[in-house]
Symmetry: C2
Subunit: 132 residues, 2 copies
DNA sequence: ATAACGCTTGTTATAATATAACATTATAAT
DNA sequence: ATTATAATGTTATATTATAACAAGCGTTAT
């Protein structure tokens, strides 16, 4: 469960550090305002870094929230297979690391003959705390 | 595999018909421009209809595309369990109707004690045609 | 019947998210 | 060193989505 190491550019490092320090998924413009003091001034700089970090699999995008989290799962290579749980109440988002699930989905085949290379799964519900 | 019947308001009907006629997922502003001739003039009117239709489960949102498709699956009650395949090349999007998959995911439990009420799964790959 | 309610509508304005396009600079590969 | 690739900085703009408010319609409870 270690962070991956890759060669990152300056802006990519800054954005990644910001995401890693956060306790929750960050939105692009929230990242932007955090990194203004480090010399990143404009949206494209953030979006470009995010795009690359997603490609590398060191962060993931929570599609239904337009937010980004760092990948805590050393097994999900280059973000091909991602699964999250999202609490509808407190918005807590957790990456699901379950090898049975990922095996099941990676091998899933429907009847259309399509070959899947990648998936993203988002569960919604109430987390342990909010369920009480 | 029949369309669901529900009591819909005028704008909801108009938006739903537009989505049903389309051969592919539509974006909100594309819907807006289609329905201007029917007297719908502004984004909130479209977004409100979309929100309601999603709640009712007669359409689904493809989160990674910000696009909407009508539900062709009489089994996915009020959009609690949705799965799609998305072709990376031609962008063709298909709703996956596979009872094993939906049973598996509906019953999925991780180790955090979270109770899931809903999920959305999006597969990416190459469709039969584009694979050639 | 009418008041109260819930829901939908219409409208203007604006917030939030994301990319295009272009000029420049840094890094890596041969 | 030369070339190719990737990253940067910048301005402007496109795209997606919501806030806030006024008004109308249909139900139903009194």
């Amino acid at each position: 469960m270690k962070h991956k190491q890759v060669n990152l550019s300056k802006n990519q490092q800054i954005v990644l550090e910001t995401i890693r320090k956060a306790k929750k998924p960050l939105k692009a413009y929230s990242i932007l305002s955090s990194v203004k003091k480090k010399g990143i001034n404009a949206p494209p700089q953030v979006y470009r870094a995010l795009e690359k970090l997603v490609e590398l699999g060191v962060i993931h995008k929570i599609e239904s929230k337009n937010a980004f989290v760092d990948c805590k799962n050393s097994e999900c290579e280059t973000s091909k297979a991602t699964a999250f749980s999202i609490c509808k109440k407190c918005q807590k988002i957790t990456e699901i690391m379950n090898s049975k699930l990922s095996t099941y989905l990676t091998n899933f085949q429907d009847n259309t003959g399509m070959k899947y290379e990648k998936y993203n799964l988002e569960f919604y519900g109430l987390c342990k705390r909010c369920k009480l």
